[in-house]
Symmetry: C2
DNA sequence: AACTTAATTTAGATTTGTCTAAATTATTTT
DNA sequence: AAAATAATTTAGACAAATCTAAATTAAGTT
């Protein structure tokens, strides 16, 4: 019922990785967590023994229903703390993740539920990712990536898929953040770069690499 | 420069224990931390190697100047979180300690200094204990215990020496908290119990055991 | 001062999480 | 399908933090 910091970091990372591919591999996870494949295999045996993981040697792995529930609890804590840090302590967008990475492991249910209430039950973290509620329910999302957005259609930045310091720095420089309204004006076939309008009349260029990491919703 | 949760719990506990006695013994520390004396000895060697502790076998131990600095950092984090939990999240007096016991180990300087600012640089935690500032400076206190207070003199409850659930429950029942104004009306020689006035005209009795754990200042 | 008891330390073991190097299995290329 | 390469697992080791049981040192008592 209570998991170590290590176990929690593995569980949460598997949850995120399996979203994209359905199943997660040893090397993928080792890369993400900056450990060695052998360490991953060791931990996978442990998580399987605790019935949090489906795993047969050489077959990759994914979380069981129980494992996903645990993951959603960790993600709820992480994102609530991120919201707190940004909203109340005035951390910037790109600083919150690192701190939340530690705070997420303080797992006192009453603490988290009271924090949630204090923050006014926020629906999204500062990166635009949905915050699971106390029951572990999470908003579906149905976001698309910027390259898929049709031309000349106003749309809303609702997240980024990659949250490295590098991309956040670039977005900050281009003044793009969650909630920014965009319109794609031109798509260049040569390099798949985009010309977009932000705000009233600012015209900027965005590389294919960057565009693929910007998530869009039409909610407004 | 960075210490494990275990090391931090040892360091903090030594700091509190050495305040009373000057020097701390193996069994004392084992009792307080709910570990075995052998484990204490192991850790003392480690802390000595890190120059946080004065320690010669069989001679007891106390923190070095460096060790005390580390302790004050932990205590600062602990008490700021206690203040946050009580003030912002509406935890009660007796619930905050347990949660702060975990939060104190998230040691990100920027987080703590921003939290401090957000809370308005509080001087005291919800138990009346002083909060060290960012430089590790802590208020001297110069508190006395209730039995030493002269008769018929209005004074102020500023803390408790024992913070067990039991004493907090008792104080809550007697409606005594930090900031309560008291006056000792009678002292009974037979059992050293006290008759005191709280607030305008409430007269209650307090046992010797309880009185010895109530700290008083005259600041108001 | 010798004996007894209490406190402390040491020796050796265990659990958790990690690693390197070697062995095994799966996948891709020829 | 064999050979080469890549991915994964196993074997064995290590550091951190803990424990039990035994040995040692200190303190208290006759
Ligand atoms: Mn994050
Ligand atoms: Mn984490
Ligand atoms: Mn603690
Ligand atoms: Mn306190």
């Amino acid at each position: 019922m209570n998991y170590s910091v290590s176990e929690e970091n593995y569980i949460k990372t598997i949850f995120h990785l399996q979203k994209k591919e359905g199943t997660v591999t040893t090397n993928e996870l080792a890369g993400e967590l900056k450990t060695r494949p052998a360490s991953v295999t060791d931990m996978m045996k442990k998580l399987k023994a605790k019935k949090l993981l489906h795993y047969q040697p050489y077959q990759g792995f994914r979380l069981t229903t129980d494992g996903s529930k645990v993951a959603l609890g960790i993600i709820r804590r992480h994102r609530l703390w991120e919201y707190f840090l940004a909203e109340k302590l005035k951390f910037t967008w790109d600083e919150v993740h690192e701190v939340a990475e530690e705070l997420e492991h303080v797992s006192n249910k009453k603490l988290i539920d009271k924090l949630d209430a204090y923050l006014g039950f926020p629906k999204k973290d500062p990166h635009g990712d949905p915050i699971p509620d106390a029951q572990g329910k999470i908003e579906s999302g149905k976001k698309i990536r910027l390259p898929e957005v049709p031309l000349h259609t106003s749309c809303l930045v609702s997240g980024v898929t990659n949250q490295s310091g590098e991309i956040l720095e670039l977005l900050k420089h281009k003044k793009i953040r969650i909630g920014t309204t965009l319109e794609v004006r031109k798509r260049f076939e040569f390099d798949q770069s985009l010309e977009i309008r932000t705000g009233k009349q600012t015209i900027i260029n965005i590389s294919r690499e960057l565009a693929e990491n910007i998530l869009i919703s039409y909610e407004s």
